[in-house]
């Protein structure tokens, strides 16, 4: 009972906050709603007993990525932005696409089958602590995908440096 109540709260608030994020005219306000949204997502992770993921969600998304968003927003010319009537012009098309997606997802929900239970039950993870369990998996079983992901990030960093340097030279 209490669990359903908690989940319902998070689900509805997250949807409401996402709507607020995309409908605000002032990007500064959007960022603040998004901050609240990230906290609710972290709360949802906590609710799933994933405390490590919740902490990382706050540190990485709320603490780092959103601050970078904030930088971009701070350097915009807000007076012009707020004067714009709406940012996306073709909303009927978007609405149509979303409706199709919604129908597809709803249809797919009927085919939901619960997967087999793996070795990592809540008790096992609580014994071993999250950071350890995740670290072991990442550095043994999923080492290759993990390294590929870090390589992709490295490419992005190198790309940013190259772009910045080219501008300096010219």
């Amino acid at each position: 009972m209490l669990q359903q109540l908690f989940f319902g709260y998070y689900a509805f608030i997250i949807i409401g906050l996402s709507l607020l994020v995309v409908t605000r005219k002032n990007p500064g306000h959007s960022v603040m709603w998004m901050l609240l949204l990230f906290f609710h997502i972290a709360g949802l992770y906590l609710f799933l007993n994933a405390e490590f993921i919740a902490a990382i969600q706050v540190i990485v998304y709320a603490g780092a990525i959103l601050v970078l968003f904030l930088f971009v927003v701070l350097l915009l010319n807000l007076r012009e932005e707020i004067a714009l009537r709406q940012t996306v012009g073709s909303w009927p098309v978007a609405f149509f696409m979303c409706a199709i997606l919604f129908v597809a997802v709803t249809a797919a929900l009927g085919a939901y089958v619960q997967g087999p239970v793996g070795g990592y039950s809540i008790d096992v993870i609580q014994n071993e602590t999250h950071a350890k369990a995740l670290g072991k998996l990442l550095y043994t079983e999923y080492l290759f995908p993990f390294e590929i992901a870090s390589l992709i990030l490295l490419v992005a960093v190198v790309g940013a440096v190259v772009l910045a340097k080219r501008k300096l030279r010219s």
């Binding site: 901050l35 405390e51 490590f52 706050v58 709320a62 780092a64 904030l70 930088f71």
Partner: protein, 355 residues
């Protein structure tokens, strides 16, 4: 007594509900006690800072209000509380109201995971250290948004400077704590303290000397204190991000800054100086210490925390402010590589089984 209260409640709403209500009440009492005690410490941290810096500059510091000026913090608080609350005309009002609250609340939330002595915590979570890092990054929003929403050039520049400074030094600070995590093998603050107690030296400041140095420098930048207080450099930016704030909203920034200093000092104490414990060889030499009640050890914790606070004041009275490019160079070109080297050394030693 708690048992009788539970059974009394249980007769109305049933056993499980009664236990839950009682737990929530106990947590609330703990929260109120921790916040009240911390705010008193904050009040006297300001008094002590003025005394220390006064004596370092051959002055006497506050003396007028009460004996030795002991009531000065309360006089300051009452003055701030009754000042006019001015809101600039071209400010973004909702965010202008919200920013100091975010700053202060994020500082107070960090208190909930700090263990002050064995058993003296509001909550003992397994990701305590990560929680602290997360909360310190939320505090940056208070600063950035206050600078942005004030609608003033000085505030805006202060907010921008603070954002880039806090983000840069957060990396160094997080990486400097990784060495401690590797050595203790856990992110739980209580476990980290216990691991240090069982370590031969009794604290990690010695084997983690590189990490300790990086943490110590990053601590100043994270709390916007001298020599890294560029966001509020008064000779260039009036007062930086809180230029437009007055009265109690300014007081929230002020309290938040000192709470932040206390929290950074606590993290340093817990991760590098052994928290509330004395080293094991001291305890073995003086066996009667083991029979003392647990809450007495909060005194040891406080002595270590105030040692860090004294360093904050000492550095403020000694060093001039850095230039902004120097600040960034120190952060990215010195501290982060040092922290990475520290991680590599600690990791290698851990694999070899030497630590």
């Amino acid at each position: 007594m708690i048992g009788s209260v539970t059974s009394f409640l249980a007769s109305f709403i049933g056993e499980p509900m009664a236990n839950m209500v009682l737990n929530i009440v106990i947590i609330l009492i703990k929260v109120v006690v921790v916040i009240a005690v911390t705010l008193l410490h904050v009040a006297y941290a300001t008094y002590w800072e003025r005394k220390v810096i006064g004596h370092m500059q051959l002055r006497l510091g506050p003396r007028e209000v009460g004996p030795y000026g002991l009531f000065q913090p309360f006089a300051d608080g009452i003055k701030l509380f009754f000042k006019e609350d001015i809101i600039p005309a071209n400010s973004d009002k909702p965010i202008f109201y919200l920013a100091p609250v975010i700053f202060f609340v994020s500082a107070l939330t960090s208190l909930s995971v700090l263990p002050f002595f064995d058993g003296g915590w509001v909550s003992n979570i397994n990701v305590g250290l990560l929680f602290l890092l997360g909360m310190s990054s939320i505090g940056a929003y208070g600063i950035v948004m206050s600078g942005w929403s004030s609608g003033s050039k000085y505030s805006f520049l202060g907010g921008l400077r603070s954002a880039s400074q806090v983000i840069s030094y957060e990396i160094a600070m997080g990486l400097s704590l990784v060495g401690v995590m590797i050595m203790a093998g856990t992110l739980n603050l209580t476990e980290i303290v216990k691991a240090q107690y069982n370590y031969p030296t009794g604290f990690y400041a010695l084997p983690q000397i590189l990490g300790f140095f990086v943490f110590y420098v990053a601590m100043f930048a994270e709390t916007n204190r001298l020599p890294f207080d560029l966001p509020e450099a008064e000779s260039e930016l009036v007062a930086g991000y809180f230029t437009e704030y007055s009265g109690f909203r300014f007081a929230l920034f002020f309290l938040g800054e000192y709470t932040g200093m206390l929290i950074m000092s606590s993290i340093g104490t817990l991760c590098f100086l052994g928290g509330w414990t004395l080293p094991k060889f001291v305890m073995d030499a003086l066996p009667f210490l083991g029979s003392l009640p647990k809450f007495v050890w909060v005194a040891v914790f406080l002595v270590k925390v105030y040692f860090f606070m004294f360093l904050f004041y000492w550095v403020r009275a000694t060093l001039p402010r850095y230039r902004y490019d120097q600040l960034m160079n120190i952060g990215w070109k010195v501290l982060i590589p040092l922290a990475l080297v520290n991680i590599m050394i600690t990791g290698t030693l851990k694999i070899m089984g030497w630590v």
